[in-house]
């Protein structure tokens, strides 16, 4: 990395752009420092999942104790931890399956329909995007334990509903940004050639926005896996506790590196999902990887 920067002045035309503050090393230094700072805890978390002792800061030798070997407290044998991971994935999948289609439809509709109701729907959607999670989580908890008591039990149903409400805006924003850059011309052309509206959407529009949909899938999935506030506010018995909750209670009680092992496992799977999403994305966007990254960055 450093060589690229140090040789920068050799190509003056481009070097100039790299040099707005005269000292690119400051930029570079800050970035490297930031990356180290941001990645350090992740690396520590992963490494210490292989710690032989129960400490999370002093290294006591390499072992798979917290992954497979410990009879009660390893990821493989601890049913509570496995159920927490299963619950995390379950919620992530349900949320993706509901929020992404709902959000995509919403984005298409709102992009083409400009009536006053559309504006208030859009306003509500944006509101749900920016409202602090604790407000929504507590509100839904109060809703489900009072007005809708007995209808929506806390646990998976309530958690899924809460997450969908909170995540719905993500696909809307991503897909809509994509739609804005596409414009209606392609569909119109298709319909001029005799396609019905639904054919135009299925055959023309959907493939065009597929990358954005995939980006939403990856983002919503990762975000749900990460979620704590909503899930904790709406959980019921232990079987509805997710990994984030386990980490939270472990950090206040008696943590073992098993927590690290579980988090590492989640990291790996999330990375796989995201990488899979990106691969698909690149194929759909025909190698325009810049679009892929920009869509991810849109949030």
């Amino acid at each position: 990395m450093s060589t690229a920067i140090e040789h920068a002045p050799a190509t003056p035309a481009r070097g100039y752009f790299r040099n707005p503050w005269r000292k690119p090393r400051i930029l570079q230094g800050v970035t490297i420092g930031y990356l180290l700072w941001s990645l350090l805890p992740v690396v520590i978390a992963v490494i210490f999942s292989f710690n032989g002792g129960r400490s999370r800061i002093s290294w006591q030798g390499f072992s798979l104790r917290w992954w497979t070997q410990d009879p009660t407290d390893s990821l493989l044998r601890d049913e509570a931890m496995r159920s927490a991971m299963a619950q995390t994935y379950k919620l992530a999948i349900i949320t993706v399956l509901v929020a992404v289609p709902l959000g995509t439809l919403f984005a298409i509709g709102i992009d083409r329909w400009h009536g006053r109701p559309a504006r208030s729907a859009n306003f509500t959607m944006l509101l749900s995007f920016v409202v602090p999670e604790i407000i929504l989580g507590v509100s839904l908890y109060i809703l489900f334990t009072n007005l809708l008591q007995g209808l929506v039990p806390l646990g998976t149903p309530a958690q899924a509903i809460g997450l969908i409400s909170f995540q719905l805006s993500y696909p809307v924003i991503i897909v809509r940004a994509r739609l804005l850059s596409i414009g209606p011309e392609y569909e119109e052309a298709a319909m001029d050639l005799g396609a019905t509206p639904s054919q135009a959407i299925r055959r023309i529009l959907l493939p065009l926005i597929a990358p954005a949909i995939l980006a939403s899938v990856a983002l919503v999935f990762a975000d749900v896996v990460d979620d704590f506030v909503t899930v904790a506010a709406l959980s019921a018995e232990a079987s509805s506790e997710t990994l984030a909750q386990k980490i939270y209670s472990a950090s206040r009680a008696s943590p073992t590196p098993e927590v690290n092992a579980a988090a590492t496992m989640m990291l790996i799977t999330t990375l796989l999902v995201v990488a899979g999403g990106l691969l698909f994305y690149r194929r759909f966007s025909r190698g325009q990887s810049d679009i892929a990254t920009t869509d991810f960055m849109q949030l």
Partner: protein, 423 residues
């Protein structure tokens, strides 16, 4: 009658159903809104009482209470249900190995569900969000649980170990909060005291300080108090020289609050849940407010190579501290009541209960067979923790935290809110 929104009249049925997400969610909620016509809480004789027609008084040592039995116990010959048994418990409050033995013996699964604080546990049981077969409430909630018909009276024939293992006083006459043990059996007993690191404070020094150790600037940054209002305010009251641990006196509560804020702000005391059993052994704390069970359990959290003799527990003279117990009960909505009775009986079995205590949990069951001397002789409890062993005589002298009346409870909570807000 609540006025209908003018728009409703214009909705066609189809529109209405469409807006109501298939009707399933909105119809009942609309009904709930309509039910709010009358002012809530003022109708139907208040929502406060269940079928227990009379108000059960708050139990105190002076006025023990027999909780009324308003529903049938299960028949003694009820067949044992197949699992899973749902146990609703504090986190880290039962030895997984003992649970595994129960699973094996009965060929069932046990699902352990945990709550982070009693409030959460009670709420979820009360509004049906969790339907456990066995529940572990603190005694202060038993009266209202029975009042609300949330507990199932025990079929005592199915719990022979209550008579075989447990101190006789728990069945005859029974504890002050549940005379005749109609609804509960004791799970663990414990006292309140100060846990400390003997490698940093000598026994004599600590004993001379007593509660004051938690206010000693020498240990600044290494003092732990429980993040639990009932415990910590009561300890502060004791430290301030009063024995009125259930006080409704605003001056005492205020003084306790001031004292707690003082040690937090001036001596960096921390409010924790794991301070005694996890962080004291790790060396993070020097002194800590402690339940006796936590310090016994702490020996399993010591770093390798550290001897148990670094742990110490001080409890005041008899009559100067609090003593209490937690209970096992069967909720009225339990799906597997017979299996629940089996589980309770299993935990009261001398061997299993002792195993749970000495090999992991650290919390002592009130068993006749458990004698302080033998525990120490066998090395189960290190000698330096001998004060952590609870004996039956202690119950005669020591103070007991009881259920607070709503007004008093509100005063305690206000004080606690102020502490938690970091004022």
């Amino acid at each position: 009658m609540i006025g209908r929104h003018p728009m409703e009249n214009r909705w066609s049925r189809r529109q209405f159903l469409g807006r109501a997400a298939g009707g399933a969610v909105a119809m009942p909620s609309l009904a709930a809104i309509l039910a709010a016509c009358s002012k809530p809480g003022e109708n139907a004789g208040g929502s406060g009482s269940g079928s227990a027609s009379t108000e059960i008084p708050i139990a105190t040592l002076e006025n023990p209470v027999e909780l009324p039995v308003t529903m049938d116990t299960i028949a003694a010959d009820t067949p044992i249900e197949s699992g899973p048994l749902v146990l609703y418990n504090w986190a880290d409050y039962i030895h997984k190995k003992v649970v595994a033995e129960f699973e094996e013996e009965y060929g069932v699964d046990v699902e352990i569900t945990t709550y982070n604080n009693m409030e959460e546990g009670i709420q979820k049981v009360a509004n049906g969000q969790v339907t456990p077969d066995v529940f572990v409430p603190t005694v202060g909630y038993l009266r209202r649980l029975v009042q609300k018909d949330l507990l199932m009276p025990l079929q005592q024939e199915l719990i022979p170990n209550m008579l075989a293992s447990v101190w006789p006083s728990y069945s005859d006459p029974g504890p002050y909060y549940d005379l005749g043990w109609n609804y509960s059996v004791p799970y663990t007993i414990y006292t309140w005291g100060v846990a400390y690191r003997r490698d940093r404070v000598s026994d004599e020094d600590l004993a001379a300080q007593g509660w004051e150790a938690l206010w000693n600037p020498e240990y600044a940054g290494a003092i732990s108090l429980y993040d639990s209002y009932g415990d910590t305010i009561a300890v502060a009251i004791l430290r301030n020289g009063s024995l009125d641990v259930n006080t409704g006196d605003p001056a005492l509560i205020d003084a306790a609050k001031v004292a707690i804020l003082e040690t937090i702000n001036d001596h960096e005391a921390r409010l924790t849940i794991n301070g005694v059993y996890a962080k004291l052994p790790a060396g993070d704390f020097t002194v800590a407010e402690a339940w006796s069970g936590d310090i016994v359990g702490a020996q399993w959290y010591l770093p390798r190579g550290t001897g148990t003799d670094v742990l110490g527990y001080w409890r005041p003279e008899p009559g100067q501290t609090m003593i209490g117990n937690d209970t096992l009960v069967v909720p009225a909505e339990a799906q597997r009541p017979r299996l629940a009775h089996e589980f309770i009986n299993f935990m009261l079995d001398e061997q299993h209960g002792t195993d749970n205590f000495v090999n992991w949990n650290g919390y002592q069951p009130p068993f006749v067979s458990i004698q302080p001397d033998s525990l120490i002789d066998q090395g189960v409890v290190p000698e330096n923790l001998s004060d952590a062993v609870v004996t039956e005589e202690m119950f005669a002298d020591d103070l007991t935290p009881i259920e607070l009346s709503p007004e008093v409870e509100a005063m305690w909570l206000d004080a606690w809110t102020e502490i938690k807000a970091g004022a």
